[in-house]
C-alpha cells in the first residue's frame, strides 16, 4: 500500500515569493492533516480536513496561508507571500480508522 506522498521534498525560495505544497493521502483516508514542524520542536497542526471540509483551521495563519482539498482526496497548502519565519518542515498526514500516517514532509527554506 502506498503511503502519504508529498511533493516537493525540498524547496528554497526568497522571502515574499509564493510557494505551494502538495499531498496525496493514503487511499480511502477521509481525514487529512497539515502540520508544521520547526527545528527542535514537535509537529503543530495547521489544518485538519474531514473529506473536503476544513473542520479545524484555527492554527492556520489565514493572512498568508491557504489550503484546499478538492474532491476530498489530494490537498495543497499555499503560502503567499512567504516570510523568513516560515522556514520549517511541512508534514501532511492522513487517517482512516486508526492512527495517522505521515508523509516525508517538505522542507521549506525561505531566504
Amino acid at each position: 500500500e502506498a503511503g502519504v506522498v508529498q511533493s516537493p521534498r525540498y524547496k528554497i525560495i526568497e522571502k515574499k515569493q509564493p510557494v505551494a505544497f502538495w499531498c496525496n493521502p493514503i487511499s480511502g483516508h477521509n481525514t487529512l492533516y497539515w502540520y508544521r514542524q520547526n527545528l527542535g520542536q514537535g509537529p503543530e497542526l495547521l489544518i485538519r480536513y474531514e473529506n473536503e471540509e476544513a473542520v479545524d483551521d484555527s492554527q492556520l495563519p489565514k493572512d498568508r496561508f491557504s489550503a484546499e482539498r478538492l474532491k476530498g482526496v489530494d490537498s495543497t497548502l499555499k503560502i503567499q507571500p512567504a516570510e523568513l519565519g516560515d522556514s520549517a518542515v511541512y508534514l501532511c498526514a492522513s487517517k482512516g480508522n486508526t492512527e495517522a500516517f505521515f508523509g516525508q514532509g517538505t522542507r521549506l527554506t525561505v531566504v
Binding site: 492533516y33 527542535g40 514537535g42 503543530e44 508534514l91 492512527e99 505521515f102 516525508q104 514532509g105
Partner: protein, 112 residues
C-alpha cells in the same frame, strides 16, 4: 502552553539494555496517546498507541504505559537495538480523528 511535554531532549542507552522514554501531559481531556519515531529527513512513523481505558499496551519490544492520575506515559524498548536510534515523539489527542498534540521529542541513541 505546552500541553504535551518530553523533558528529556536526549537519551543514550547501551545495545541490549532497556530504553525508557517519558512524556507528561496537562490536558485531562486527552484520551488517546501515541508514540511516533522519526528518522532524519523522513516523516514521523507510528510506533504504538494506547487509549485511556488501558494502562499498558505491548507490541513486540515496545511497551507503552499510561498513568492517568499522574498524567504520565512512558515508552519502554527492550532490548534496545542500534536501529532504534531516532527521535521519538509523544502525541496525545482528545478523540479518534481529532488533532494530535505533539511533544518536542527525545533523541534516542543506542550504542553498539
Amino acid at each position: 502552553d505546552q500541553q504535551v511535554k518530553q523533558n528529556s531532549p536526549s537519551l543514550s542507552v547501551q545495545e541490549g539494555r532497556i530504553s525508557i522514554l517519558n512524556c507528561d501531559y496537562t490536558n485531562s481531556m486527552f484520551d488517546y496517546f501515541l508514540w511516533y519515531k522519526k528518522y532524519p529527513a523522513e516523516g514521523p512513523t507510528f510506533l504504538i498507541s494506547i487509549s485511556s481505558i488501558k494502562d499498558k499496551n505491548e507490541d513486540g519490544r515496545f511497551t507503552v504505559f499510561l498513568n492517568k492520575s499522574a498524567k504520565h506515559l512512558s515508552l519502554h524498548i527492550v532490548p534496545s537495538q542500534p536501529g532504534d536510534s531516532a527521535v521519538y515523539f509523544c502525541a496525545a489527542g482528545k478523540s479518534s480523528g481529532d488533532k494530535l498534540t505533539f511533544g518536542t521529542g527525545t533523541r534516542l541513541a543506542v550504542r553498539p
